[in-house]
Symmetry: C2
Subunit: 422 residues, 2 copies
Amino acid sequence: MSAGNLLYAQSGGVTAVINASAAGVIEAAQKSRKIGKVLAARNGIIGALREELIDTSLESAAAIKALRHTPGGAFGSCRYKLKSLEESREQYQRLIDVLRAHDIRWFLYNGGNDSADTANKLSMISEKLGYPLQCIGVPKTVDNDLVVTDCCPGFGSVAKYTAISIAEASLDVASMCESSTKVFVMEVMGRHAGWIAAAAGLAGKKATDAPQIILFPEVVFDQAKFLAKVKAMVEQIGWCSVVVSEGVRNAEGKFLSEVGSTDAFGHQQLGGVAPMLAALVKQHLGYKYHWALPDYLQRSARHAASKTDADQAYAVGKAAVEYALKGMNAVMPVIRRQCAQPYRWTVEPAALSAVANHEKKMPPRFIRGDGFGITAAARRYLAPLIQGEAPLPYGDDGLPVYVKLKNRLLPKKLAPYRIADK
Amino acid sequence: MSAGNLLYAQSGGVTAVINASAAGVIEAAQKSRKIGKVLAARNGIIGALREELIDTSLESAAAIKALRHTPGGAFGSCRYKLKSLEESREQYQRLIDVLRAHDIRWFLYNGGNDSADTANKLSMISEKLGYPLQCIGVPKTVDNDLVVTDCCPGFGSVAKYTAISIAEASLDVASMCESSTKVFVMEVMGRHAGWIAAAAGLAGKKATDAPQIILFPEVVFDQAKFLAKVKAMVEQIGWCSVVVSEGVRNAEGKFLSEVGSTDAFGHQQLGGVAPMLAALVKQHLGYKYHWALPDYLQRSARHAASKTDADQAYAVGKAAVEYALKGMNAVMPVIRRQCAQPYRWTVEPAALSAVANHEKKMPPRFIRGDGFGITAAARRYLAPLIQGEAPLPYGDDGLPVYVKLKNRLLPKKLAPYRIADK
């Protein structure tokens, strides 16, 4: 007779390796033989509220193993934040009802700082209500903005994809610049912090290597300085590659993408800071340009994942189960850097309350004095995170073999539930 | 005493595997011991006109070998088309002067149908002028629009990248669609023909697999039909992935990207058909969307190259030298499909005149009746081209190890030359 079931849920934007964390959770739970069923909420916390619980024991061992190399969220994720205990008391209560109905004693929530907050609150309310529940966070976010942990699973892979992509595209630009494109602009994710943009800097070692210019959300955009730098690079080497974070703002604090669209082009949602900058270059310097916006391609690119990242994602899933079995509550396994070179890391528990609702910004010492690149300190921090390749199986058709789970739901035991203001 | 030198030049948009052709040329020439030096024109035909000739014998064997996995154009390429013999007679004459000055007896031109035309004309004029020269084309283009050949080196890799990317991004979309993005639009290259867009179709086997909608330049855009299909897919499975070729036009024959920018958003060069379609979906159906435009990332993505493609690129380079040594002139090695399944191909010579100035369109039988996908015939044609992975070395830094050649120029022997109307 087991001690109850475990519920795992994915939250927020998915990554190339969030399913590796799921595999870590499920395999560790099965191996322990101390946990009944591992259930997964369908589409994240929404599914938990709706009592849409996937029975992962119906999946084959091979399918669970294949999660380790399958991007996206295998059980579905969602953008849905529970509010404070006061405002959302009824929803927390509903969660407890669902957990109780299915004998769930462990809740593992795989997400960012919002999710850490939710898991923390759920742990508090369960105690208040006298329902025995352990809540464990599992870290995930391409934004790399969780505090306490050295880095966030999901980030290393988008970092690697970004560095590879700008290196490759820049070889293209360099070889054609004599008679074609001279300026290439690639826009990357990162509305609040420039971690992904910074990772692009790993592609270049010298000042003339691509990307010659990185624009961070942390640095106010200075049009004259930017154009002068582009011009200087084109005059020196014939071309210039720019990596720009979607979150770059002007001196008035407005996103550049919005400035572009509202001032001159009429339609905000069309935006994208890359085309706006490219047009600026054309207008002021007359150079031929191209721009790219990989969008979801960057955060789902499992085919170019970092081994470090994939390993860490699996490890935090596994550790979450170990903590659960040790009786720990309201904690999250985080990555601790033991040594930068060679990179050695361990997983250790941190209080959810220490992680919840904080945001890790890039330290100013990671950004070069001229604002257009990364420092040696940033390089030391970032470099290990993209190390190693994480090979994945390809089929005879030349495509990666990604798993699609059966995702069969448990029969419901409670009355239907309607989620307000979803 | 050798029989003279060989000049190799890259032309037009570069690819993930054009340097593999260069490696094929250089290694085959060295191995033959019948060719003096292999020279490479700096930045394509422009360098040949300017007498900027790179001495590839100064590169190490390891560097030449590494070309096989390095994207971009290692010697530089250009967009510069020589006109007719009458209009550009002086330029053809100049080329002959340069070739004569450096004892060049073989000219290998690595490009698309324009380049085949130039090589063909150069062969004619050299004969007229009594200069002994053999001109051989080496096929290359991501557009896959050369006739005679089964496919074009460069296309298979962009095809593979495109299919992988839409598969991965769609896993992301599918897992979030309940509460976030429902429609994802990815724009791919192909102004005149939908080959790259068609390749995206390899990612899906069933009608509900991504991409659920492909928009081809060959099919007139029908807004009502498009929106109805998007709506139907979202209602059926919750989300919809769209791959759109940059060359899609409306009933008036206008590029959709231009329609979007001139009608509503003011600035044409900002364009991109992906954001235009995404905005259309939002406006008419209200769905949350994301869009991606990988641009140069797609044609430089050597990290996701097709083995078939990389092998073919090397093989045509090697074959070009073999033809040269057999005394052939005005020919191009092309790929001949011997068998579709299992895919077997050979390389054989075709007359440059048969390839020059023609454009291979997608046959109508490759496009599904509803205009939104590929047929089984298209799948049979395309599938082999993305088969196999072409691994590449990664460094300790987690990045592909791409080679940068020394590219030392031979001393000039002629007077400086100014290129008109570049």
